[in-house]
């Protein structure tokens, strides 16, 4: 592979593509925006078209289930001035990409937007739960508009109201925390026997589940919602076992699926199970000149030697930038590797996770599963592959650097052993 000397060049050999003069980014959230910023910083002078299906300027999603829901302001990721003038973006907001014609362009409404390089960054959409999702008392939480609706209802029913959260994952749990703070009586309904298994494994999932009960939120696991019904006076969430839960507000957070419907039939390889965009280590899709980043992308993460698809902030930001640099300067492309990192705040407790929960064993090396402060390490084949912490913000980034290193396990154990801590106040 030839390497450039650091000078931006738009003409190093792409893959059967013309010189990159027209970059199109579909998805105007974090991954797409970071891509645009990285493209300009690299010296790319060509056209950039940024297409987003929401009317809003790019905004930050994590606060939607946290500070925004609690009454804060939305957090913009970029101003119009910055996008139009500093980054010189041809901005298409409120426009949904509905198709991709390879070598021709992205179909947006009646228009075909041509590209030399295309970045797919359309993120993910709430998983479909069935017809009851259309009930007027039921809300999902993915976009700023969704969050506005939930907040409005929460303001109305808040104190003394009954909030039912369907899904005990991070989004659902964060909503439960905000609703409790607002004075509501909160029930979380989780389909699995333990929440968060895919994200943090069963052991840590069970430990985190305990936080709900300790703060006065009822968590019911292993229950399946089959419907929502209302009469003049009340709304009820119906469960498969015949029970029902009264609710003034129902928020659904049962996970998300890659937003790739628009790519079906385009020739872009999609994963047969979850329809994620299948990429190689350089974030290239199966079509020449087409790359993907963020929640949509399934790619082989060289740090773990395994394919991954990540739905977290840190990854969207880093992957968006890497994908676009590889797209614009393929001769100096770099594989994208990362130790995943995400965080969540529940009842004033900070949960942080690095690496992967796909492990042979888990050990609490500081604190324990019933305590308000712990470090749990994930081991696979004798190596540290992940770490979960509760209220240990000073350790998590040190642990992130130890994950997937030769002596990571010993280093992590020693990091946690040398601190003897005061209890949380």
């Amino acid at each position: 592979m030839t390497t450039n000397s650091g000078h931006p060049k738009a003409d190093d050999s792409p893959f059967g593509c013309p010189e990159a003069r027209r970059l199109v980014v579909v998805g105007a959230s974090l991954a797409g925006l970071r891509a645009v910023e990285a493209a300009r910083r690299s010296g790319y002078q060509g056209r950039i078209t940024l297409i987003g299906d929401e009317m809003h300027l790019p905004y930050d999603r994590p606060p939607l289930s946290k500070s925004f829901l609690a009454g804060g302001d939305p957090t913009a990721l970029a101003t119009e001035q910055r996008l139009l003038h500093d980054l010189r973006v041809d901005l298409r907001l409120g426009k949904r990409a509905i198709g991709l014609r390879p070598g021709e362009g992205v179909v947006v409404g009646g228009e075909v937007v041509p590209y030399d390089r295309l970045l797919i960054a359309t993120g993910s959409a709430p998983r479909d739960v069935g017809e009851w999702a259309a009930h007027p008392a039921v809300h999902s939480l993915r976009t700023l508009d969704d969050a506005h609706h939930v907040r409005t209802v929460l303001d109305r029913v808040g104190r003394g109201g009954r909030v039912v959260v369907v899904g005990g994952g991070f989004i659902g749990s964060e909503v439960a925390c905000v609703a409790l703070d607002a004075g509501a009586s909160v029930t979380v309904l989780e389909g699995a026997s333990v929440p968060l298994v895919r994200a943090v494994g069963g052991v840590v999932g069970a430990a985190l589940a305990g936080l709900h009960g300790r703060h006065g939120v009822e968590l019911r696991c292993g229950v399946r919602v089959i419907g929502v019904r209302s009469d003049d006076r009340a709304t009820q969430v119906l469960l498969a076992d015949g029970d029902f839960v009264p609710a003034d507000l129902v928020v659904v957070g049962v996970g998300a699926v890659p937003a790739t419907q628009w790519l079906v039939g385009s020739g872009v390889d999609l994963d047969p199970i979850d329809s994620a965009v299948v990429c190689d280590e350089y974030l290239r899709t199966s079509l020449p000149g087409v790359y993907a980043a963020g929640d949509v992308a399934n790619w082989p993460n060289p740090v773990f030697g395994a394919r991954m698809r990540l739905e977290n902030w840190t990854n969207a930001a880093e992957q968006g930038a890497r994908a676009v640099l590889n797209a614009l300067r393929p001769a100096s492309r770099q594989a994208y590797g990362t130790v995943p990192y995400f965080w969540s705040d529940w009842y004033g407790h900070r949960i942080q996770f690095v690496g992967t929960a796909d492990a042979d064993s888990v050990a609490f090396v500081s604190g324990g599963p019933d305590e308000d402060r712990f470090v749990a390490l994930f081991e696979r084949a004798g190596h540290l592959v992940g770490a979960a912490t509760l209220n240990e913000p000073g350790k998590i980034m040190k642990l992130r650097r130890m994950v997937a290193t030769e002596d990571g396990w010993d280093a992590a154990v020693s990091l946690c052993a040398r601190s003897s801590r005061e209890p949380v106040t």
Partner: protein, 63 residues
């Protein structure tokens, strides 16, 4: 250049420490500590950390 932390915005997420532990460290209470407040102008690692802040709490000023 000098690194400036907006303490109102910083929430101690720690991505800065992950990218540049020579300048940034989160303490046991979740507060960001600047290990070193100064860096060479345009220092690539520092600038990466500044740009990566999810709370937009970091900036640099020329001295």
């Amino acid at each position: 250049m000098r690194i400036v932390v907006d303490r109102e915005r910083c929430s101690g997420i720690g991505i800065c420490e992950s990218l540049d532990p020579e300048h940034f460290e989160i303490d046991d209470n979740g507060a960001l500590v600047l290990v070193s407040e100064t860096a060479d102008d345009g220092d690539d690692t520092v600038m990466k950390a500044v740009r990566a802040c999810p709370a937009v709490a970091l900036s640099v000023v020329s001295e």
